[in-house]
């Protein structure tokens, strides 16, 4: 490792890291916001469930480099627009979470729902205050998978020339220089671990009633 080089490139690396975080986290939040109502819908309707889950599975099979290239056609964006990356990863996040949200809501014990009803909760109150909170652990398990894979998927966009940590890979390759490549890999993995940890913390904070077992 050439630490002198890293020191000189510090500003540039921070810039790339910033973009990487933005490109990985925005789709996570957007995806969750879209997946919640869709998942609820799938949970409510036995007929819509297989359709939504099937479409999600199909979207999932589209390789990301392909999706990055195809989205400009649909969105009318330029090929180098970072929006394509955000949109593509949002699609993957939704595809993953729709099923997870539906299954999370399904997993809420019928007794619990009945109890809420008996306490006078209306349907929406029961959903927001009882069913969703009880489903949080399952949803956050799905969110962790999405977060970690988003971080890795963003770096693929370097092949198209969209700046983020993956640019360190192509740059290092041009110079036959290990330092940027290793720095990029380490930062990607650390970023994924931090996001993963944040979701675990968020999960614990949202579900204070669960026993404090360290989830791996």
């Amino acid at each position: 490792m050439n630490f002198e080089w890293l020191g000189r490139q510090f500003d540039n690396i921070v810039f790339l890291l910033g973009w990487h975080v933005l490109l990985a986290v925005t789709p996570l939040i957007l995806g969750l916001l879209i997946a919640l109502p869709l998942g609820w819908w799938a949970h409510r309707s036995r007929r819509i469930y297989p359709f939504l889950v099937g479409v999600a599975g199909l979207l999932y099979t589209v390789p990301s480099l392909a999706l990055f290239v195809l989205l400009p056609v649909i969105l009318g964006t330029k090929i180098l627009d970072p929006l394509n990356i955000v949109a593509a990863l949002t699609i993957y996040t939704v595809a993953l979470l729709v099923r997870v949200v539906a299954d999370a809501l399904d997993s809420v014990p019928q007794d619990t729902v009945q109890a809420a009803k008996a306490m006078g909760y209306r349907a929406y109150q029961s959903l927001l205050k009882v069913e969703l909170p009880v489903g949080v652990p399952v949803i956050s398990a799905g969110l962790r998978v999405a977060a970690v894979s988003n971080v890795s998927l963003v770096s693929v966009a370097a092949l198209l020339g969209i700046p983020q940590l993956g640019s360190l890979f192509t740059q290092g390759f041009q110079l036959r220089f290990f330092t940027p490549i290793i720095a990029g890999i380490v930062l990607c993995v650390v970023l994924a671990m931090i996001l993963d940890g944040l979701i675990i913390l968020l999960n614990r904070w949202l579900t204070p009633w669960t026993p404090k077992v360290v989830a791996s």
Binding site: N2, W5, R8, N12, P50, F51, G54, V55, L58, L70, P72, V73, I74, G76, T77, K78, I79, L80, G161, P163, S167, T170, Q171, F173, Q174, L175, R176, F177, T179
Partner: protein, 303 residues
């Protein structure tokens, strides 16, 4: 259920297919124009080391003349840099005459430095202007290993004619279709190689393939220190297939004050191809670009 899914897939594929016939996301129409403010000049560069080095030289030269400078290095390929110049995200960047001209007009017939400069002057987007081009250039060269050159007695590209059928040519993927690539080698030099191998633009893949013998003839760049380091022979382009690639500053007209013009013209006048080879060699050893730029300016009494 399955019917729905199959239908959905087909519909999606059809939609993409149809809409693909419309706009081209790789075209570079300019939609948002916000000019950079104030007197400071934003110097940008493309995503490869030599461009960053020359941009650094521009920036340091301007700073030493008291011009306020901001830098945006490594912003990407021309698909990004040219729109960025047009919308004022950057004001100045180093360009290569021939490659820029081809980007602006893929059908161009210009080859020599003079032809390229003359055509560029008419094709440059409004709002942008070109300063005086440097004599230094970084153009495509066909390179072979010394052994190959000796074996077949190769000095110019024309000398390849009798042996091309036995040799594999390596170059960037765009060479497959470009006039100044495989097509031009056939029409201008009557060369038909055994095979063309799509590698990268004068980068590690091409160099590696040439040195290891996967290809025998490779497209490299004239300022690449690897040419002399590896005893490679650059074949002379006697029929002028490859465009001249003189280094030229492209600048936003509004920022092109007389101080700025004078400074950059002096830099262009002092810069030589040999300087670039030497400095690229230092960049390849991971020396600091800023230091290299400052030392060069001092050696030419420009800072």
């Amino acid at each position: 259920m399955k019917k729905y899914l199959t239908g959905f897939t087909l519909a999606a594929v059809a939609a993409i297919t149809l809409s693909a016939c419309g706009g081209d996301p790789m075209s570079t129409a300019n939609n948002n124009s916000q000019a950079s403010s104030g007197d400071s000049i934003i110097v940008g560069s493309a995503d490869f080391p030599e461009s960053q080095l020359i941009a650094k030289i521009y920036a340091e030269a301007l700073k030493s003349q008291g011009v306020e400078v901001a830098e945006k290095p490594s912003i990407g390929s021309r698909e990004v840099t040219i729109p960025a110049l047009k919308d004022g995200s950057i004001d100045l960047m180093p360009e290569y005459g021939g490659a820029l001209l081809q980007y602006l007009d893929a059908e161009t017939k210009a080859v020599s430095s003079e032809e390229v400069a003359a055509e560029l002057a008419t094709k440059i987007p409004s709002g942008l202007t070109l300063l005086t081009a440097s004599e230094a250039e970084d153009k495509d060269v066909l390179a072979v290993k010394k052994e190959t050159a000796e074996k077949y007695n190769l000095k110019t590209i024309s000398d390849l004619e009798p042996v091309a059928k036995e040799l594999v040519l390596g170059g960037p993927p765009e060479w497959k279709t470009r006039v100044n690539g495989v097509a031009g080698l056939k029409s201008v030099y009557n060369l038909e190689f055994k095979e063309f191998s799509a590698l990268d633009a004068g980068g590690p893949l091409t160099l590696n393939a040439l040195l290891s013998g996967q290809v025998q003839v490779a497209d490299l760049f004239s300022t690449d220190p690897a040419l002399s380091e590896n005893n490679l022979v650059a074949l002379e382009d006697s029929k002028n297939l490859f465009l001249s690639e003189n280094i030229v500053p492209v600048i936003n007209e509004k920022k092109s004050s007389s101080t700025v013009k004078d400074t950059l013209n002096k830099v262009s006048a002092a810069l030589t191809t040999e300087d670039l080879i030497e400095m690229n060699g230092r960049v390849a050893k991971f020396e600091d670009i800023g230091e290299i730029a400052k030392e060069w300016l001092q050696s030419k009494n420009l800072a």
